[in-house]
């Protein structure tokens, strides 16, 4: 097991799933089934693989019990000790607020993972990037699978969705140290005609590669001093939207106050004047991120950085600032599968990929006990279940059924001559004779009448679809549920 040091693993599971309300109005996002397990199991598993034995889960008060019961279920193989911390439901709290609640638990670093991360990548690689650069905050980036980037037909929508286009982020990397993040800007914010780059920035980082192809996986390694800063800045709500861009920006700041204390001999008279003038508004300055870093940085480290010839702007003029005390780095994942199941499209994609990836998530012990088709499943003759399918326990499948590229939950009843392709069927679903279901998501306890034709639909919880009905590109849920969505 890898050494996790003093790192504290935190899973953010308080998100409401606002981008996929059709699915989350009945079930917390973290507990939506992906394959055979709730979504949150996957990040837990990733952390376990990276060597974490204690994991903090932040969830909402009202979900706490449900979360407890599901995660302590023996059918869900979890080795780590889980500590579930709840936050009030009432306020709409962001990720930064959640982190503030558990801040005392963080000793040196926090590894923050979102509950919707479904990835087969190795978190130890990510953590080593953080350690290698002694980073203040490290972000995991990945390229979306092409199947999501391309405009695919997503269940429940009339038109093809331009997926995630609006959430594109422009991220600038230093060109000769491509892990180093210099620039972070969401494209939604860029409504102005011009982007103005300050001369100071350009002089310090003369060559920046700005790419928009990366998605933020919402996996962060955050240094203690940043969290301390966060505690005092209650106006910051979200990690990605506010804290991260701010920290990226603050990389340019230099520690002036400290200099007047310890390097007085090195500062010129003008600078000394500056600092003394600055001392007057000290209380204000105290709040800045750079002041928190001072406690963490060793003098020797700073000295070494200052003298280093390998610093990126070697050969630059001596007046270019050298004090990079705040550092943002990225771990850029290029191989493997990584998706944030926070939209219906991404969720759908994750569910479909899971049968293929399942083995990588399971540990050796449980590998044998998890066949794609469990023994408790009864399949009548002349039915076909494709190898790319995943079936839950106690599923009853009738005659001449054909199931392809689909995931089927527990205790489902599938009658004769039903065809299911490319779909996600959750638990306790009943599908009557001769229905044809393709490209659909069918939620818990739904009932589909016979001879139904469903194409690219979402069927809500406990919905009954009447016999012979035909639907395409619709979200089928009851009126009251729709009202709830509207009220939210």
């Amino acid at each position: 097991m890898a050494n996790t040091g003093d790192c504290c693993a935190i899973i953010m599971a308080a998100g409401s799933g606002s981008r996929m309300t059709d699915l989350t109005n009945q079930c917390p996002k973290a507990l939506l089934p992906v394959g055979r397990f709730p979504m949150i199991w996957y990040p837990i598993r990733s952390l376990e693989k990276a060597g974490f034995s204690d994991i903090v889960i932040i969830t909402r008060k009202s979900w706490e019990k449900q979360m407890h019961s599901i995660l302590s279920d023996k059918s869900v193989p979890i080795l780590a000790r889980l500590e579930i911390v709840s936050i009030p439901d009432s306020e709409d709290l962001g990720t930064a607020d959640s982190l503030r609640r558990v801040a005392p638990k963080v000793k040196t670093t926090a590894l923050v993972v979102s509950c919707d991360l479904i990835s087969d990548c190795d978190l130890t690689d990510f953590m080593s990037v953080h350690r290698k650069h002694n980073s203040s905050i490290t972000v995991m980036l990945s390229q979306l699978p092409t199947s999501i980037v391309a405009e695919t037909l997503v269940p429940g929508f009339k038109s093809k969705q331009k997926n995630a286009a609006s959430e594109k982020i422009s991220i600038g990397f230093e060109s000769n140290n491509e892990d180093h993040i210099l620039f972070w800007r969401s494209q939604i914010d860029m409504d102005s005609e011009y982007l103005s780059l300050s001369k100071r920035f350009l002089d310090r980082f003369p060559c920046t590669r700005i790419q928009s192809k990366w998605t933020d996986c919402h996996v962060y390694m955050i240094n203690k001093f940043v969290i301390e800063y966060l505690i005092n800045r209650s106006d910051i709500n979200s990690l990605q939207g506010e804290l991260l861009p701010q920290v990226v920006k603050k990389q340019m700041s230099t520690l002036v106050k400290d200099k007047s204390h310890e390097e007085a001999d090195m500062t010129t008279t003008e600078e000394a004047d500056m600092t003394s003038a600055d001392a007057d508004n000290k209380p204000e300055k105290r709040k800045d991120l750079i002041d928190y870093v001072a406690g963490c940085e060793f003098d020797l480290t700073r000295e070494a950085n200052f003298l280093s010839l390998t610093s990126s702007n070697f050969g630059a003029s001596p007046d270019s600032p050298q004090k990079d005390l705040i550092r943002c780095y990225a771990y850029r994942q290029t191989a493997g599968f990584c998706v944030r199941a926070n939209t219906i499209a991404a969720y759908f994609e994750a569910c479909k990929q899971i049968p293929r990836l399942m083995l990588q998530f399971l540990d050796n012990k449980s590998k044998g006990t998890m066949p794609p088709v469990p023994e408790s499943t009864s399949i009548k003759p002349k039915s076909q279940v494709g190898a790319d399918c995943l079936l839950g326990e106690n599923v009853e499948i009738g005659e001449k059924v054909s199931i392809k590229k689909s995931v089927i939950g527990r205790h489902c009843k599938i009658d004769d001559k039903v065809k299911i392709t490319n779909s996600i069927i959750m638990d306790h679903v009943t599908i009557l004779e001769s229905s044809n279901i393709s490209n659909c998501i069918i939620c818990d306890s739904a009932k589909i009448g016979d001879k139904c034709e469903l194409n690219s639909c979402i069927v809500g919880q406990k919905q009954s679809i009447s016999t012979m009905s035909k639907h395409a590109n619709e979200a089928l849920s009851s009126v009251t549920q729709m009202m709830e969505v509207a009220l939210e």
């Binding site: 422009s170 600038g172 060109s175 210099l182 620039f183 800007r185 494209q187 860029m190 102005s192 005609e193 011009y194 982007l195 103005s196 780059l197 300050s198 001369k199 100071r200 920035f201 350009l202 002089d203 310090r204 003369p206 060559c207 920046t208 590669r209 700005i210 790419q211 928009s212 192809k213 701010q246 990226v248 920006k249 603050k250 990389q251 340019m252 700041s253 230099t254 002036v256 010129t268 003008e270 600078e271 500056m274 600055d278 508004n281 204000e284 300055k285 800045d288 750079i290 702007n313 050969g315 630059a316 003029s317 001596p318 007046d319 270019s320 600032p321």
Partner: protein, 738 residues
């Protein structure tokens, strides 16, 4: 050399011949008095003419045919080429001089090339003052691969060299910022930056449209480019392209229409740089001495004539027949040309000394460039100076930093030449005669005598300040249209090293303070606010708002033409209908919006009065009388344009801008409006609705401007309101104008 003569070249397929165009003129005067007598391409750098470096670089890159465009002092360039080794029968490269005295820019030179139809294939375009050891042939190959492959529309590949900000070879005027497409090397955005601008605004489209871009502030232009054969034609088609930067800008702007693209090539481990001013001359000389330009270093390439140069420790290069007296010291980075004698007790460091120079005893030479036949007598001190061929510095002279002594100047004895002085051996001629080199001897003499008479006294005092036996005249740096003050020119010439250190310190502290300022505001670097401050956006203290920001954009050419048209119409008594036709055609000619015509017309009426009276626009009462008359006379014409409520508002705003521009008229704004009101051009309703309009954001510039104008118009409005009340009391049958 291989028997690959010219005759052989012609046998080759014409497309296979790699061509290059060398521009042997800088089209500027960065070298001050030095380039008045010798073109920049022939100035020696470490004792070798610059043009030879350029041609050598081309030859090693596999170029077979070179056209050297000679403009300023072209005869000298041609002469140099005729005597060069390239004219030998075994030469691998054919060098042809293209004489074009009339060229004033690189654009002209390329148009000349185009008109002579010399270019058959992709070619290298290079300035004649480049030192490079890179393989330009490789760039040509890349360019060809691009044009023959997927990117047929690439017209030019620009070569840049990596140079971090603060690099000594980076000059203020050459500072640039560019954006490259990440994977293809396509140039997306290009901007020259002056040091004083603190922010660079990049069009957001670039970020939105391209997923992968590289923002460069770490590049230096090498002034080497590989061009498609269409480039000269493009220069001919667009006669406003003067420089390559114009061209690049033009291509980038018209990219969507023309579909032409520009790519860049970045040199990382080879050398390529242009001698564009004294700073780069200094930097590149040092690079040559420190062997960055291998094989173009003094001991290998140094003297084409075959004489031997010995390379010693600490980068000291001595020619074979140098005479060094006992006790003289060549410290480091020194090149001494053949036939030079150095006296005892002399101390030389970081210098280049040409052929047949004579350095006396106890001389200190530091960081200086002495060309051929220079004489520095005993006990002189020279620091960071350029001494052209034939210069004599008599004994006990101190040259402070940044001095330039042009050809054959004599200074001394016993004087100190101030920092940054530029001297030449003849009095300065008039700037405009500078380019006219063909005048006869008589003219020259005449001119000389006139000059002498004029400035006799002055010259005497000058001569005294440069020493009793001096032959030196001050060269006043030509301040060109960029509004550069002298200090800036000096700085450009010698770079930071020569500009006084105080200034630099202040700059530093300034930048520090900026940092803190920004930090404390919590908006450190890379802050990308939408409205970058424009220089012109300055708040006028008298007005309380910045006038430029809120005034309607206007085309001054159009406005002037409009005034002229109306004046002509008035004097020639053109009928209103025809005048309207003329005004409309003006509108189309200058492509101005109709609102601008409307806003300009009343102002033009006023200026017409002024110009008929040959007076300037003042608050003279005579002008008001004229204005009143004209308005009455042209009321029908004005009403054609200013016809409804909306256009009347535009007209009032136009007048508002007019009085903001002409501060004297500000108190008279009510009168101006009143005249238009009297002539029924403006209606009462629209004046009031203009007055009461509050469509501006409170506190914004527009709102402030409106407040300001409102105050001016207050009396008129008051009067109008009173009149309105009276009339409404009396009767109500007045039709509303609207």
């Amino acid at each position: 050399m291989a028997p690959k003569g010219k005759g052989r070249n012609e046998d080759l397929k014409q497309e296979d011949v790699l061509q290059a165009v060398v521009i042997a003129d800088s089209f500027n005067v960065r070298f001050g008095p030095v380039t008045r007598d010798k073109p920049r391409a022939l100035l020696p750098l470490v004792n070798v003419p610059l043009l030879d470096y350029t041609l050598e670089a081309l030859a090693t890159s596999g170029v077979q045919e070179v056209f050297v465009v000679c403009c300023h002092l072209g005869d000298q360039v041609r002469g140099h080429i005729r005597q060069s080794k390239w004219q030998d029968c075994g030469s691998p490269m054919a060098v042809t001089a293209v004489m074009s005295d009339s060229c004033l820019s690189m654009g002209d030179a390329l148009r000349e090339i185009d008109s002579k139809a010399l270019i058959r294939t992709d070619f290298i375009l290079i300035m004649g003052d480049i030192v490079a050891n890179m393989d330009i042939g490789q760039v040509v190959k890349e360019h060809k691969a691009r044009t023959q492959g997927k990117d047929k529309s690439s017209v030019m590949t620009l070569v840049f060299r990596v140079a971090q900000p603060g690099h000594r070879a980076r000059t203020k005027e050459e500072n640039m910022f560019l954006i490259e497409q990440g994977d293809t090397g396509r140039l997306l955005y290009f901007k020259k930056t002056k040091d004083d601008s603190r922010k660079i605004a990049v069009p957001m489209d670039i970020l939105m449209e391209h997923d992968d871009i590289i923002v460069h502030n770490d590049l230096m232009d090498c002034h080497i480019s590989v061009c498609s054969p269409s480039v000269p034609t493009l220069f001919t088609d667009n006669f406003d392209y003067q420089t390559r930067d114009d061209f690049v800008k033009g291509i980038l702007i018209d990219e969507e229409i023309m579909g032409n693209k520009i790519h860049i090539n970045i040199v990382r481990d080879k050398f390529a740089a242009r001698v564009s001013n004294m700073q780069t001359y200094d930097a590149i000389s040092k690079d040559v001495i420190c062997r960055w330009t291998l094989p173009y270093v003094p001991d290998i390439y140094g003297s084409g004539s075959g004489e031997r140069v010995k390379y010693g420790p600490h980068n000291v290069y001595c020619s074979k027949d140098v005479t060094l007296a006992r006790g003289c010291e060549l410290k480091r980075d020194v090149v001494v040309g053949s036939g030079t004698r150095v006296g005892s007790g002399t101390d030389i460091s970081r210098c280049v000394i040409g052929k047949n120079c004579h350095i006396g005893d106890n001389v200190t030479l530091h960081n200086s460039y002495l060309w051929d036949n220079v004489r520095v007598e005993d006990n002189c001190e020279v620091d960071t100076a350029l001494l052209c061929s034939g210069v004599s510095v008599l004994s006990n002279v101190v040259l402070k930093r940044g001095v330039i002594l042009a050809w054959n100047v004599v200074v001394g004895p016993n004087v100190t030449i101030a920092q940054g002085t530029q001297l030449m051996s003849e009095p300065q001629r008039d700037e405009f005669d500078d380019n006219d080199l063909s005048f006869g001897d008589d003219d020259a003499q005449q001119l000389q005598s006139v000059k002498e008479k004029q400035g006799e006294n002055e010259e005497e005092t000058e001569a005294e300040s440069y020493g009793a036996q001096s032959k030196a005249f001050l060269f006043k740096p030509y301040v060109d249209s960029d509004d550069e003050d002298e200090a800036a020119v000096i700085e450009c010439q010698w770079g930071k090293s020569a500009s006084d250190s105080e200034e630099r310190n202040s700059y530093e502290s300034e930048s520090e303070s900026e940092e803190e300022e920004e930090d404390s505001e919590g908006e450190a670097m890379g802050d990308f606010d939408a409205d970058s401050e424009e220089e012109e956006d300055v708040v006028d203290s008298a007005l309380g708002f910045s006038p430029k920001a809120c005034m309607m954009r206007r085309n001054t050419d159009f406005y002037q033409e409009l005034v002229d048209t109306i004046v002509r119409g008035h004097t020639e008594k053109i009928t209103d209908d025809n005048l309207i036709l003329e005004i409309n055609s003006l509108k189309h000619a200058y492509t101005v919006p109709i609102d601008e015509v409307i806003a300009s017309l009343p102002c033009a009426m006023f200026e017409m009065g002024a110009s008929l009276n040959n007076a300037k626009v003042t608050a003279d009462s005579k002008l008001f009388v004229l204005f009143k008359k004209n308005v009455e006379r042209y009321a029908p014409l004005l009403s054609k344009y200013i016809k409804n409520a909306e256009t009347q508002l535009v007209a009032i705003n136009g007048l508002g801008d007019f009085v903001i521009r002409n501060s004297e008229l500000r108190p008279k704004l009510p009168q101006l409006i009143n005249f238009l009101y009297d002539a029924d051009v403006l209606s009462e309703g629209s004046i009031l609705s203009w007055f009461n309009s509050n469509r501006f954001q409170p506190g914004s510039n527009d709102a402030l401007r409106h407040e300001f104008l409102k105050k001016l118009v207050q009396p008129l409005v008051k009067w109008l309101q009173e009149a309105e009340e009276e009339s409404s009391e009396e009767d109500d049958d007045d039709d509303d104008d609207e």
